[in-house]
């Protein structure tokens, strides 16, 4: 090819090269977007699941039998026990 006098028409290869470069980049950007969206969905779902679990854990602590460390709750617990 390099011994030819006229410049060869290689524009087809050039177009293919640039098309592939942009397609690969676009696929990667789309993959980041989709993974991000799916992870955000997972996170919000897991946070919803985690909320009732937190309430369940807190409830036994409020009960008089297991009141430890909660200063405001202590006198009430003692009184209720004496009664």
């Amino acid at each position: 090819m390099f011994f030819q006098e006229a410049t060869p028409d290689t524009s087809g290869y050039m177009i293919a090269g640039y098309a592939i470069a942009f397609i690969v980049m676009a696929i990667y950007v789309a993959s980041i977007y989709l993974r991000n969206r799916n992870l955000n969905r997972d996170r919000s779902m897991l946070e919803e699941l985690d909320k009732p679990a937190r309430v369940e854990v807190r409830q036994p602590k409020k009960s008089p039998a297991k009141s430890t460390g909660n200063k405001s709750a202590k006198p009430v617990t003692k009184k209720s026990r004496k009664k």
Binding site: S11, G17, Y18, L46
Partner: protein, 232 residues
């Protein structure tokens, strides 16, 4: 949903604009190379992506060393982001090189030292993600990944210097010459403008994608922690 920082939003827009300008410079502004024709124009994106990819692999090796010293998982996330973006860019480099080789060398692929080292580098980092997929424990995964990325990082300078150290048909356009090279050319001032702008554009695009990927890694970690919390 966490909103994007304003700086990242600006960087997203600037990256797209800069990439557009770089494409214009490569396709319209730079003159046509007389021997090879239009296919020479893929050179600008070929070098731009190769430069950022090899830089990313070396950066990942540096992050690995810092992780192994500090044991902070933040460095593991940085390493993964750098490798993933570099892997995509290096794939573009290889594909563009192959497309250029068809009219210039009359073949899509040849087992030349530069092409071989480039293919090995790409495969090393594909295997890196396969390795990480196989390990569930985050600390162990990060430790193994760091050691692997550190060793794999050696392949980046080997790939870069392959055309300067070995007898190869791959041309050395910047900083040197190769007697056996086929398809080499001298750049005109306009070609140099397009070339250096492409380097700048791809560096900016790399930083933008790297930042986005890093945020994704942070989110992945949060979701993993939440999963553990809910199942326990």
């Amino acid at each position: 949903m966490q909103s994007k920082p304003i700086a990242l939003k600006i960087l997203d827009v600037v990256s797209i604009i800069v990439l557009g300008i770089s494409t214009y410079l490569a396709l319209v502004f730079a003159p046509k190379e007389l021997v090879m024709g239009d296919v020479q124009r893929v050179f600008y994106f070929h070098i731009g992506t190769a430069w950022t990819a090899l830089l990313g692999f070396i950066l990942a090796a540096v992050f690995s060393v810092i992780f192994l010293i500090t044991k902070n998982l933040k460095w593991d996330r940085l390493q993964v982001a750098a490798i993933e973006v570099s892997l995509v860019f290096f794939l573009i480099t290889i594909v563009l090189g192959s497309i250029w080789a068809r009219p210039a060398w009359n073949t899509w692929w040849t087992w030349d030292p530069r092409l071989t080292t480039a293919a090995v580098t790409e495969l090393i980092y594909i295997a890196y993600f396969m390795l990480r997929q196989g390990i569930d424990e985050p600390e162990k995964r990060a430790r193994f990944g760091a050691v692997y990325a550190l060793v794999g990082g050696i392949s980046a300078p080997i790939t870069f210097f392959a055309i300067r150290l070995f007898r190869t048909i791959h041309p050395v356009v910047i900083g040197g010459s190769n007697a056996a090279a086929q398809g080499g050319f001298n750049m005109t001032p306009d070609m140099l403008v397009a070339f250096f702008f492409a380097l700048f554009a791809f560096t900016l695009v790399f930083v933008d994608l790297f930042w986005n990927r890093l945020r994704l890694g942070d989110l992945q970690d949060k979701v993993e922690q939440l999963k553990l919390k809910v199942t326990m």
